[in-house]
């Protein structure tokens, strides 16, 4: 298994270095403030929140996989995980606000030893709130202590959003590691078996498609149609929706782009595909992202670039609704990933 950029002491593990690359003018000529300029043209600068209805919580960078495109630089060698104390601070904020969605991500969120307690506590606060777990699937079959995760998710009505870059082993394993496809199929069957992704159960299983390489995702509906067909026929697997997500040029995907000589071409493509309608609907306008140590960010990508929210209090313990609603969202060139084509967010395309 490959190591994280951090464990490899890669220059790209240094956020300052990443931002330097993203701010450089490329040979094809994009300017350091290209994204802000585009927003200005669309009358969206400075970018501000619409409503904050989603709290996305990254409970840690520890993961059983080391996917080549991971923007978190997650992996088994990453030890940063959220403490119970920070989770309690999140619970206090959830209690005192009216979020519609709590979206848990990582790493593999389930590897946080307090994960189950955290889910139970969130559900205890509200029966209605949508709890999402971004599950990498293989964790369910990683060892026997995780085999009952589908039942646990079902018991607490947790929506499962899982990455599956392709409906074949070759392309899935190329991105996510040897054997990942086979394990993912087994895990999907286990989720289906308890009712996830099945009509009439109300148990939601959505899949995330992101391209295995330096190209953009195509039409989300067509991809969903194709995935449904290809997973149904040989494997008997069903799921609800497919979210097509664009890979953003940060962390390990940036490493891939640079080492494969695709960086300039990819950035050029993202910029050429800028869609003002997608810009209007970017996810950072209705969410706050919480890091493993409790710091607040505009989104999970800004979190990985350590670009904290621009408010006086930058920690979950200092949550201030007024400040957060009035803040200016931090942007850089990586943001072109969310505004390309049909738009991209943790919930897939942002335009129809």
């Amino acid at each position: 298994m490959i190591k994280s950029l951090k464990a490899r002491h890669s220059q790209l593990a240094d956020v300052g270095y990443e931002l330097k690359i993203l701010s450089q003018k490329t040979p094809t000529g994009f300017e350091p403030d290209a994204f802000s300029s585009k927003l200005r043209e669309s009358n969206l600068f400075p970018l501000q929140p619409t409503k904050i209805d989603t709290l996305q919580i990254n409970v840690g960078k520890m993961c059983n996989q080391t996917c080549k495109h991971c923007h978190v630089d997650a992996g088994p060698d990453r030890k940063e995980i959220m403490t119970r104390e920070t989770m309690q601070q999140c619970l206090d904020v959830i209690q005192n606000n009216s979020f519609t969605t709590v979206d848990m991500t990582g790493g593999a969120p389930e590897m946080n030893p307090n994960f189950r307690w955290f889910v139970e506590e969130i559900r205890a606060i509200s029966k209605e709130i949508k709890i999402i777990v971004r599950c990498n699937l293989t964790i369910i079959v990683a060892n026997p202590s995780y085999h009952d995760l589908p039942d646990f998710f079902k018991k607490h009505n947790v929506e499962v959003v899982s990455s599956l870059p392709y409906f074949s082993a070759m392309r899935t394993d190329a991105q996510r590691g040897e054997g990942v496809f086979e394990k993912s199929i087994r895990a999907l069957k286990m989720l289906n078996d308890v009712g996830y992704g099945k009509e009439g159960t109300g148990l939601i299983l959505d899949l995330v498609y992101n391209p295995s390489g330096a190209f953009l995702p195509g039409n989300q509906e067509s991809l969903e149609f194709e995935f449904k067909k290809k997973l149904k026929e040989p494997f008997g697997i069903s799921f609800n929706k497919l979210f097509a997500i664009t890979n953003l040029p940060i962390s390990r995907f940036l490493d891939y782009l640079i080492s494969s000589g695709n960086y300039d071409g990819y950035m050029e493509k993202l910029i050429a595909s800028y869609n003002p309608v997608a810009a209007e609907g970017v996810m950072c306008r209705n969410m706050i992202s919480v890091g493993w140590d409790g710091h607040l960010y505009d989104c999970d990508f800004n979190q990985m670039l350590e670009m904290k929210v621009e408010t006086p209090g930058q920690h979950i313990a200092q949550w201030n609704n007024n400040d957060l609603h009035r803040r200016e969202i931090q942007v850089n060139q990586h943001c072109f990933g969310c505004t390309a084509g049909a738009g991209s967010s943790c919930g897939g395309a942002t335009t129809s």
Partner: protein
């Protein structure tokens, strides 16, 4: 090194309107309309375009429709099968003329 083909030129395709705007506009309208979802899906059309690109051996088209089919979720096997369809039709077109050769052969033989 000077070559007849420059990958950068693909991005300038739209510039053909500089010399004849009306016809270029008509062409690009038609082109855009052709590749929309219709009785055939955009994905199917893209695979056909990839196969045709190999038949006419246009490097720009091969480049463009490799990317396009990948974006539309086609995998390497499907893409190569499309190229084989092009190749099969091309070789078939030669081979079917073998009948003409056989006809002539038989006509001239005792």
């Amino acid at each position: 090194m000077k070559t007849y083909y420059n990958p950068e030129d693909l991005k300038k395709f739209g510039n053909i309107g500089e010399f004849q705007k009306k016809l270029a506009d008509k062409f690009f309208d038609y082109y855009g309309e052709t590749f929309k979802e219709g009785a055939l899906t955009a994905r199917e059309k893209s695979l056909i375009a990839l196969a045709v690109a190999h038949t006419i051996q246009c490097p720009y088209c091969i480049d463009a429709y490799t990317v396009d089919t990948m974006e539309k979720g086609c995998d390497e096997q499907q893409m190569m099968e499309a190229v084989h369809v092009a190749a099969a039709i091309r070789s078939g077109a030669s081979l079917v003329h073998g009948v003409q050769m056989m006809n002539k052969y038989k006509e001239l033989s005792m």
